[in-house]
């Protein structure tokens, strides 16, 4: 059990990636009652764009992040225009679930054509030499610390934006009551677009962050996206704090399963937990139950 602190740290780092994606699901679900089933593919494209800029063309790492941000914005606008806005008019869950899924498989195919189907190593900007903490008791990859720090910064800045700026308050208003917000002169469509832009940009940056831990390639996103969605539901899709907690729980669960049971089964506990939570407390561990009016 001497590796316990290390296990926890790795679990938290992985969990933060899930938390970032899940945070994106939470933002758009609150404003539009929809979310992006292609979120994992957006993460993948962010990672690959940054890989091309920073590794292949050997530009500055920050330029790579800039590229990921840009692709995140472009993808969000495409997604919102082609998949979300038409679906909001039809008021059917089926349309947006399938439409965003369709965009996801298109994105994956595009990535396969541009980058091929191979996986690539994406070296961490901080190097691969493990750091020794606590007098050598814990050895940790610097990238894991970067993930934890960067994810915390991203989520805290969004909270500050939401609470401290007039635009952020408009996001909260739309999330609370679309019609009332519209009557106060808030451009609801714009806020929904904004929420998708934020969500996609966060996903793209998460891709840049996770790249050095995994490999980057066209197939890297699909499972991450699905598992982050599971994490969001476990914590409570409508609770900002809940989705973060869900991400951390899932990350830790996976690390522990891989260590103590089998690496082959490391994807399973999240899904089992998901089904248990949905059957026992559908609003999620941290979600509030809402009463349906008849």
């Amino acid at each position: 059990m001497s590796d316990l602190p290390q296990l926890i740290l790795s679990g938290v780092a992985l969990g933060m990636i899930y938390a970032l994606l899940a945070f994106g699901y939470n933002i758009t679900f609150l404003t539009s009652r929809t979310l992006n089933f292609a979120q994992g593919e957006f993460l993948m494209l962010g990672a690959l764009v940054a890989f091309s800029i920073s590794v292949v063309h050997k530009h500055n790492y920050l330029l790579g992040i800039g590229g990921a941000l840009l692709i995140g914005i472009v993808l969000a606008v495409i997604l919102e225009r082609t998949a979300i806005r038409p679906a909001l008019r039809t008021k059917s869950d089926v349309s947006w679930i399938l439409a965003t899924t369709a965009l996801g498989i298109i994105a994956r195919n595009v990535a396969e054509r541009v980058w091929g189907t191979d996986d690539y190593r994406f070296p961490s900007p901080l190097g691969n030499a493990p750091l020794s903490l606590a007098g050598g008791a814990v050895r940790v990859l610097p990238q894991e610390l970067l993930i934890i720090g960067a994810a915390a910064v991203i989520m805290i800045s969004f909270e500050l934006f939401r609470r401290g700026t007039i635009l952020g308050k408009a996001v909260t208003a739309v999330a609370t009551d679309k019609d009332a917000a519209a009557l106060q002169g808030i451009n609801v469509a714009l806020i929904i677009t904004l929420s998708f832009v934020i969500s996609s940009v966060i996903a793209a940056v998460a891709g840049v962050l996770v790249g050095p831990l995994t490999l980057v390639g066209a197939g890297m996103g699909i499972l991450l996206g699905v598992k982050a969605f599971a994490a969001a539901i476990i914590g409570g899709l409508e609770s900002g704090l809940g989705v973060v907690a869900g991400g951390l729980i899932l990350g830790l669960c996976e690390q522990f399963t891989a260590r103590f049971i089998s690496t082959g089964y490391k994807d399973t506990p999240g899904f089992v937990l998901l089904i248990l939570v949905l059957l026992l407390k559908p609003a999620g561990l941290f979600g509030k139950r809402s009463i349906k009016k008849v």
Binding site: T101, E112, L237, D267
Partner: protein, 635 residues
């Protein structure tokens, strides 16, 4: 002659069984056409769940894996004959369908989609990790050769087997969806709450859809392993589940030909245009997006639309608008036309013609005590968080009486009806109905003899008026099993005929008889309320809960409702009426109870209530110092 008409679409498929006589290329017959047949089976199953019941499943590749591995493992490990493995595959996959379906009982939309994805991924993981049983990622290659007696079913002959299986599945699917099962699926999709309150068990039919769907997929799985004589985990990826959804949406949901067209395109296109294989996902993703927003009915929807337009050009006597508005007909309609009912005005028709309930045991006959109250609530209470919406309500409705429940907005009237109909679970107190404790899910309460209407009209908008009432008549099919439907037994056909005739009579009763084949959403508001009453009466209730039946109605419609309530009463029905139109209330009610802030403040005859000071102050307000103590406390 008539009964055969419903099978014409199936018969139209039969010529395709002859394809191998003209095309001998094994690659086309075994590699493409047999694959199409197998995929059609899966898509037909998926259509039951996603097309008819409206629950997205992104986990059908997982079900296919269960079927395929069951058959492959039995053949390989236990040396079973493949034919013997088929029923086991179907059974195991149907059981897996229960697992996939249970979340659908409580979840919808993205939550359900996620659980089905999780199901597929869990199946794939288990298969990958159970090395001893499944050979893990290597997969099972020991698939035996197929024989039927001395006839080899390999190569092109395999196509015949898959074709027969496909036609069988499409036949079974038709039998299910063109029956009360199909109506239950659609009702649960369009308005689950209204469906349950009309006596449809969500539990039975949601799970039923998943189980039947899974059984079909299990059969497909057993066939699937013979396509490449291989069963490996990579075949059953998440993408494969999405492919089945693409086939379903692209071809068109709720259509046999749609299922076939969708499967054919998705299999055929990448196989025949090799140079596009690398762009396959882009093309299918694009097609899916395009279909979703420009062809909501899929390719078959487009074909039907074109066929109708062309047909309309040639037919002068029926104009195109009527043709286009005519909903798809159930074969049962062709099979058993509703008997011509002499058109009767609602004003002259009596409810006895269609109302066939013997009152629940214990009422009426068992002495004066029981007759004193058909429905009785004792200290009925419900709290939402800290808000006590209904507080210790004592209410009784006597057999054959019209009891009005009135009160200002927010006084707890609709909440009371929601508790009585099983929509809300009371936090305290008891409800007794016909001397028995009342409780349970809404469909149980409907069966017990309490039907309701909704304050915000809750109809099945895309279904016809006749089908809306038929959903209310769901209880009349309680003796019809799936086997009856599969075999089109005389009993099943008789019940369907009888129910249709009765539904038509009920529509006549509320004055909507000549609109029977119109879609409910096309009705004006007032007529929608009448349709709700017809659907409630179809449930053969002893007590009807009418939640603001006259809200938003014109004066003419209100007087129609007035007459209908009178006739319901004459037929021996008890009615609990919530209404804000006081002239209607005072006109039809025997007794009136008044709620204010969740408490009963008065009860009596209409005349007594009109003079009651507390009622007047509750409605019109009074200076605080003149309020009675209880009301003052509640404020």
């Amino acid at each position: 002659m008539m009964p055969f008409r419903r099978y014409i679409p199936l018969l139209a498929l039969l010529p395709f069984v002859l394809v191998p006589l003209f095309v001998s290329d094994t690659y086309i017959v075994h590699g493409v056409l047999a694959k199409v047949c197998i995929y059609v089976i899966v898509v037909a199953g998926l259509d039951l769940v996603s097309g008819y019941s409206g629950d997205i499943s992104v986990g059908h590749a997982g079900l296919l894996a269960v079927g395929a591995y069951t058959s492959a493992i039995l053949c390989w490990k236990l040396q079973w004959n493949w034919w013997g493995t088929v029923p086991v595959s179907i059974l195991f996959t149907a059981l897996a369908g229960v697992l996939l379906g249970v979340p659908a009982l409580r979840l919808a939309g993205p939550y359900l989609a996620m659980t089905t994805i999780a199901f597929g991924l869990i199946v794939q993981t288990i298969v990958n990790e159970s090395e001893k049983l499944t050979k893990g990622s290597t997969g099972i290659t020991e698939i035996p050769r197929l024989r039927l007696g001395s006839l080899s079913l390999e190569s092109n002959n395999f196509y015949y087997l898959t074709f027969v299986a496909m036609v069988l599945v499409l036949y079974l699917k038709r039998q299910v969806v063109f029956s009360f099962w199909g109506r239950a699926f659609e009702a649960l999709k369009e308005n689950p709450l209204a469906a349950e309150c009309s006596g449809v068990s969500r539990y039975r039919f949601k799970l039923g859809a998943f189980i039947i769907s899974a059984a079909f997929t299990g059969l497909a799985g057993a066939l699937f392993i013979h396509l490449n004589k291989y069963c490996g985990p990579l075949s059953f990826s998440l993408q494969f589940s999405i492919d089945f959804l693409i086939m379903l949406i692209l071809g068109g949901t709720r259509s046999m030909f749609g299922n076939i067209i969708g499967a054919f395109i998705v299999v055929f296109v990448p196989d025949f245009f090799n140079n596009i294989a690398e762009y396959q996902l882009m093309i299918f993703g694009g097609l899916l997006l395009f279909t979703l927003y420009f062809l909501p009915g899929g390719i078959i929807g487009l074909i039907n639309l074109l066929a109708r337009s062309v047909g309309a050009l040639f037919r002068r006597r029926r104009d195109a608008v009527v043709t286009a508005a005519t909903p798809r007909t159930f074969p049962g309609e062709q099979l058993s036309p509703v008997p011509e009912v002499a058109h009767q005005d609602a004003a002259t028709m009596q409810l006895q013609a269609v109302y066939r309930r013997s009152l629940p045991a214990g009422t009426g006959s068992s002495g004066h005590e029981a007759a004193a109250a058909l429905l009785k609530t004792e200290e009925l209470t419900i709290a939402f968080g800290g808000l006590v919406a209904v507080n210790k309500l004592e209410l009784d409705v006597r057999p054959g009486e019209v009891h009005a429940l009135i009160g200002p907005n927010g006084s707890g009237k609709s909440t009371t009806i929601n508790m009585l109909s099983g929509v809300y679970r009371p936090t305290g107190g008891r409800i007794r109905f016909a001397d028995l404790p009342l409780g349970g899910a809404p469909h149980n309460i409907s069966r017990a003899g309490i039907a309701r209407t909704f304050q915000n009209v809750a109809l099945f908008g895309d279904m016809t008026l006749l089908d809306n009432v038929l959903v209310g008549l769901h209880h009349t099919f309680s003796r019809i099993t799936l086997l009856d439907l599969f075999t089109a037994s005389p009993r099943a056909r008789r019940e369907e005929r009888a129910a249709r005739a009765r539904a038509q009579l009920l529509l006549e009763f509320v004055g909507l008889g000549d609109l029977a084949n119109e879609r409910a959403r096309n009705l004006p508001y007032g007529k929608q309320r009448l349709l709700e009453i017809a659907r409630a009466l179809a449930q053969n209730p002893a007590l009807v809960l009418l939640d603001e039946p006259a809200a938003g109605c014109t004066a003419g419609e209100i007087s129609a409702i007035d007459k209908i309530i009178g006739k319901m009463k004459a037929a021996g029905l008890s009615i609990l009426l919530i209404e804000h139109h006081m002239d209607l209330v005072m006109n039809v009610s025997d007794r009136v109870s008044v709620l204010d802030f969740g408490q009963k403040i008065a009860s009596g005859t209409p005349a007594e209530i009109q003079r009651n000071e507390r009622v007047i102050s509750a409605y019109l307000g009074a200076p605080a110092d003149e309020l009675p103590p209880a009301a003052a406390a509640a404020v």
